[in-house]
């Protein structure tokens, strides 16, 4: 009796795995040459608004020290 419960548990697990793999196999994938181009384009489109990349002046960055005192 317990042997049967044990094997049906294995079957349930195996079925779940197959179902999961079927979901993943059914996905529509795109070539890297196309997707990579989009990743590159995103970086390029946003590079000017990336302060850590381009470095912004002390006057526009609240964390950088300014020469004059600023009353908050």
């Amino acid at each position: 009796m317990s042997g049967r419960t044990c094997s049906s548990g294995h079957v349930v697990q195996a079925q779940k795995l197959v179902d999961q793999l079927r979901v993943e196999a059914g996905m529509e994938r795109i070539k890297i040459s196309l997707t990579a181009a989009d990743l590159v384009r995103f970086c390029q489109d946003h590079r000017r608004s990336d302060p850590l990349l381009t470095g912004i002046s002390a006057s526009s960055n609240p964390f950088k020290d300014k020469k004059t005192c600023r009353l908050l």
Binding site: R29, P51, F63
Partner: protein, 355 residues
């Protein structure tokens, strides 16, 4: 006789299922291989190199008495919350270094903390297996610990938490191997996510434009992408050679990065459904614990167990620079909401703001 027949049927079903899962796995591998027509750095050949970065420590946040395990920025780009091993949660004004709130919780190892989108509350949790929400009071004298509200209940430690875009829902990851979505008001479990076969160590919500998905990574070396509504695991990646400590989406939502104990960080393209870059160096032999992207996605900041933060060129795969300063492991790095600064939390009991 009947029992023997049943046993035979189960045996046949099991082996046919095993055969099917094997063939599906092979099909998946084949599909992914077919799409790898270029390397990411080849696609980025014509992109100009990243110029010299002038990033250094601008603020040193001292106040925790023990290892700082987590931090999160407030949407106002100046406040942040941090949590530590001794159960302390502190809300800081990063401009002035003012500690605005300090809460001592009865539980040690507060491994996760998050700021609510409204800025009116913080969430935290760790070895207490819970995620609690603490409303932030304007009254400095109020005892915040007393107003703490338990929202999430796991059966093992809380490793990560995030609000999902409003103050009303929280997404959690746990050492119990699951992730879960909770209603903050009622504490009700709205959806659970099962699939990892070991501790889940990190999660990240997709940028709002991309829709209702999130990615998780764990000790089973897998990173999984989930549909928040259905609980379905829609994509899965397995290429790291050790625990995945942190996962973070690329700002467009079309990719994510992960940091692992195998001393590499990796970049996964969600539409090609595969790993497209590995950020590694022979000289880097310590585990990577945390990653975050700069606003444009060009830079990947990664914190390591050798006390450093390596800054990677996401497109070209090279290291741009290394940030030194912490005197123990870097546990968390997060770029501020407007991209002007990077905050790092460390086992040296401090946080640093880099800009």
């Amino acid at each position: 006789m009947k029992m023997a027949c049943k046993g035979l049927q189960t045996g046949e079903t099991l082996s046919s299922l095993k055969r099917e899962s094997e063939s599906l796995r092979k099909k998946l591998e084949e599909e992914r291989r077919k799409l790898a027509d270029v390397e990411l750095n080849q696609a980025a050949e014509k992109v100009e190199v990243v110029g010299a970065l002038s990033i250094k420590t601008r603020r040193l946040l001292k106040g925790h008495g023990n290892k700082v395990l987590c931090m999160d920025w407030c949407k106002d780009k100046r406040r942040l919350v941090s949590s530590s091993q001794d159960g302390k949660v502190i809300v800081w004004d990063a401009f002035t270094l003012n500690k605005e709130h300090g809460v001592s919780l009865p539980c040690t190892w507060m491994m996760a903390c998050a700021y609510s989108p409204s800025g009116c509350a913080v969430a935290c949790g760790g070895l207490d297996n819970k995620c609690s929400v603490i409303p932030l009071s304007l009254d400095r004298n109020e005892n915040l610990a007393a107003k703490k509200k338990s929202v999430a209940m796991h059966t093992n430690y809380l490793s990560g938490c995030t609000f999902t875009g409003s103050d009303m829902q929280i997404l959690t990851s746990s050492g119990d191997g699951s992730c879960a979505l909770w209603d903050v008001e009622s504490g009700q479990l709205l959806q659970s996510f099962h699939g990892h076969t070991a501790d889940v160590l990190s999660l990240d919500l997709a940028p709002s434009e991309t829709g209702n998905t999130f990615v998780s990574g764990g000790s089973d070396r897998r990173s999984n992408v989930w549909d928040m509504r259905s609980g379905q695991n829609i994509q899965s990646f397995e290429s790291h050679e050790s625990d995945i400590n942190c996962v973070k989406y690329y700002p467009s939502g079309d990719a994510f990065a992960s940091a692992s104990d195998d001393s590499t960080c990796r970049f996964y393209d969600l539409r090609a459904d595969r790993e497209v870059a590995v950020y590694q160096k022979d000289s880097i032999i310590f585990g990577a614990s945390t990653v975050d992207f700069s606003l444009s996605g060009r830079l990947l900041f990664a914190g390591y167990n050798d006390y450093t933060i390596n800054v990677w060129d996401v497109l070209k795969g090279t290291r741009v620079t290394c940030l030194f300063g912490h005197e123990n492991r870097v546990s968390r790095v997060r770029v501020s909401p407007d991209g002007t600064a990077l905050c790092s939390a460390s086992w040296d009991n401090t946080l640093r703001i880099w800009a």
